[in-house]
């Protein structure tokens, strides 16, 4: 027995100790109380992941910067060809300097301006594709998972398409259509939603027959509200994660298609185009900055979104909650 206990005991009369204590029924009902909220815990676990938070901060500032960059003073137009004031010729491959922060490319365009313009383009494509993937993927996946009669048919169709490598589908589509911003988006939208739809379908099949959905059916809850209230809230975290992960994926595909010559037209700067332009100069060490700068920005973006997406998916898993 500790000294503290001794003291408490001696403070109360010994006789009194052996009398009945009052029984508080409400107190016994409250013992199980814990202060837990799903989203609160998800955010807390996410914020504990330091690298993910760093990435989040970097990405928010980077996104903000891409959009305000053109309005800052002293910014150059990304497609203007700059001329050498002395010779009047194109200012080709000018190394980074005070005037041209990241130097100029092989026809004298300002690389700094091109990188931010390219980032805007690439992110725009990635976000459009991501939103489409999620919107269409969920709608289709929900149908696939929830309407039992459709399951077999859609599954067969899925298996056929899934059996062909994505690379091939994309290349084929991009080859058939002419290179343009629209083509790029169409090509990626044509394949990306499939994975999302399958994922949603599998999730819905897992959740669909849980007892709480049966309970809702017993109470006569209409299907639309079962989907809204019982199914989608369980998918929100997954959806956020999928968008985050689809962004590096889409950027990667853009680089790939550009690399094999099916990307955006060269006059539209994009990360893929910039990397590809830089690659051509690989043999001359002094010009490598034209590859390194865009690659660095590109990697920063893709790695950050990838880390954030994974950290969020960990955080959204109730097993990691406390």
């Amino acid at each position: 027995m500790t000294a503290k206990e001794e003291k408490t005991i001696s403070a109360i009369e010994e006789q009194e100790l052996f009398t009945f204590a009052e029984f508080d029924e409400e107190a016994s009902e409250r013992t199980g109380y814990s202060n837990y909220s799903y989203w609160g815990s998800t955010i807390r676990v996410f914020l504990k992941n330091k690298s993910a938070v760093t990435c989040l901060i970097i990405m928010i500032s980077l996104l903000a910067f891409t959009f305000i960059q053109p309005y800052l003073p002293n910014q150059k137009n990304p497609i203007t060809v700059h001329l050498d004031p002395n010779t009047g010729r194109q200012l080709m491959n000018h190394p980074p300097s005070k005037e041209y922060w990241f130097g100029t490319n092989s026809i004298g365009q300002d690389l700094w301006a091109r990188i931010w313009s390219g980032t805007r383009t690439s992110l725009l494509i990635a976000i459009i594709v991501g939103v489409w993937e999620v919107a269409f993927g969920i709608a289709f996946g929900a149908l696939w998972g929830y309407v039992r009669q459709l399951d077999a048919l859609i599954t067969e169709i899925y298996n056929v398409i899934h059996n062909i490598p994505t690379t091939i589908i994309m290349m084929l589509l991009a080859y058939i259509m002419r290179p343009s911003f629209k083509t790029m988006i169409l090509v990626m939208c044509a394949t990306g939603w499939l994975g999302m739809a399958r994922f949603v379908r599998n999730q819905i099949i897992i959740i669909r027959d849980r007892e709480y959905n049966l309970a809702s059916r017993c109470l006569g809850t209409p299907t639309s509200r079962i989907i809204m209230k019982n199914l989608l809230p369980y998918l929100v975290s997954v959806i956020v994660m999928r968008i985050a992960l689809s962004i590096p994926g889409t950027i990667g595909w853009e680089v790939f298609l550009t690399y094999i010559g099916l990307g955006l037209p060269i006059d539209t700067p994009s990360l893929g185009n910039l990397v590809n332009e830089g690659r051509r100069l690989i043999m001359s060490p002094s010009l490598r900055y034209q590859l390194i700068f865009p690659s660095a920005v590109l990697s920063l973006i893709t790695v950050s979104f990838y880390i954030m997406g994974n950290a969020f998916s960990d955080a959204a898993d109730p097993r990691n909650h406390w």
């Binding site: 408490t8 109360i12 100790l17 009945f20 029984f23 009902e29």
Partner: protein, 346 residues
């Protein structure tokens, strides 16, 4: 009374969970006698599983024995640290079987191999000899056509049959002590009866000492020689099966027995325990059951009761046994059982 084969004293087990310390076992003590079956009863979270896992060094990686001793064959198991030391105990001397037979077997290996593996490991049998012995053991645990079953995979067995295989694995170890962790909870009643019979038969035949963990008092009555009642990480009452069922002393044991529908009277409300068990992350003061006990004394909230001896084999941790305590009437069910006990005793 003979010497216990295993004797645990004031065992404290802690877990670290996300930066917080949880005290799962709060100084529990236990004696296990050779050839007997000891049943540990308790609700989920009472620590019955965790407690017995310390006998095998099988706590999860975030848990440890903080203090206390577990004496077995002159060794203190609480002091064992390395896997090498535990390998001399696990399986060889003390074996364990688990609750869910559906997941306890490796789905990708034949049933025969999973038993034979043990024979090769512990008894040094090889090849044909090991196979013959495996088939013999399969027959011993009541599996018909063992030679054919030897080559089958777990998914080709029903739940009851799988539990027999798990038991066969434990028996193949040839242990002194067998710990059964709720082995019939996932099974149907009729299958449960058969498994209980099998375990009893094997005990007689092989001279096993058994620790049987369960929350079902009906099963306890069936298998146990001795009973330990656990609540919130502590053994609050210990005695022979008769003593616990017919002469329980701790209010929690009373409550458990009285709330059983089997002992209730139709049309009348059952005795019911209010509230929920305490949160083991918090420090527990006094008697852990006090907040849910309508008959609690003030001292129950201040000071932890010691064990009071009721008979040489029966003791309980409750202040009600203190001579200074007021006389407390147990619930009607308990009185009825005591009366029956008294009648039978004459």
């Amino acid at each position: 009374m003979s010497e216990p084969i295993l004797s645990a004293r004031d065992v404290v087990v802690k877990f670290s969970l996300r930066g917080q310390i949880l005290t799962a076992i709060r100084g529990a003590s236990l004696d296990l006698y050779e050839g007997k079956t000891l049943a540990i009863v308790g609700e989920s979270g009472s620590g019955k599983s965790v407690f017995t896992k310390t006998f095998l060094g099988m706590l999860d990686a975030n848990g440890w024995v903080d203090s206390g001793s577990i004496m077995f064959e002159g060794m203190d198991l609480a002091k064992l640290k390395t896997e090498r030391e535990w390998l001399k105990i696990r399986g060889k001397k003390i074996a364990m079987i688990f609750q869910d037979p559906m997941t306890a077997l490796n789905p990708l290996r034949t049933v025969g191999m999973q038993i034979q593996e043990v024979l090769e490991l512990h008894q040094g049998l090889k090849g044909e000899e090991a196979k013959a012995r495996t088939i013999e053991i399969l027959g011993q645990v009541g599996i018909s056509d063992p030679a054919m079953r030897y080559h089958q995979y777990p998914h080709e067995f029903s739940g009851g049959m799988r539990q027999r295989v798990v038991i066969a694995i434990a028996v193949a170890c040839n242990p002194r002590i067998l710990i059964c962790d709720e082995p019939t909870t996932a099974l149907d009643v009729t299958i449960q009866a058969q498994i209980l019979e099998l375990i009893r038969g094997l005990q007689k035949k092989l001279g096993l000492t058994i620790i049987y963990i369960t929350h079902d008092l009906g099963v306890v009555a069936n298998v146990a020689d001795d009973v330990a009642v656990m609540y919130a990480g502590d053994i609050i009452e210990y005695g022979t099966a008769e003593e616990i069922f017919y002469n329980a002393q701790h209010p929690y044991t009373w409550a458990l027995l009285s709330s059983l529908p089997q002992l209730g009277i139709k049309g009348q409300p059952l005795y019911s325990i209010r509230g929920t068990p305490p949160n083991l992350f918090n420090e527990i003061k006094g008697d852990a059951f006090a907040p849910r006990n309508p008959r609690a004394l003030k001292i129950d909230f201040v000071k932890r009761p010691p064990y009071f001896q009721v008979s040489p084999t029966h003791y309980a941790r409750t202040w009600l046994l203190d001579p200074r305590a007021p006389k407390v009437e147990p619930p009607a069910t308990i009185k009825a059982m005591r009366a029956k006990y008294a009648r039978d005793a004459i």
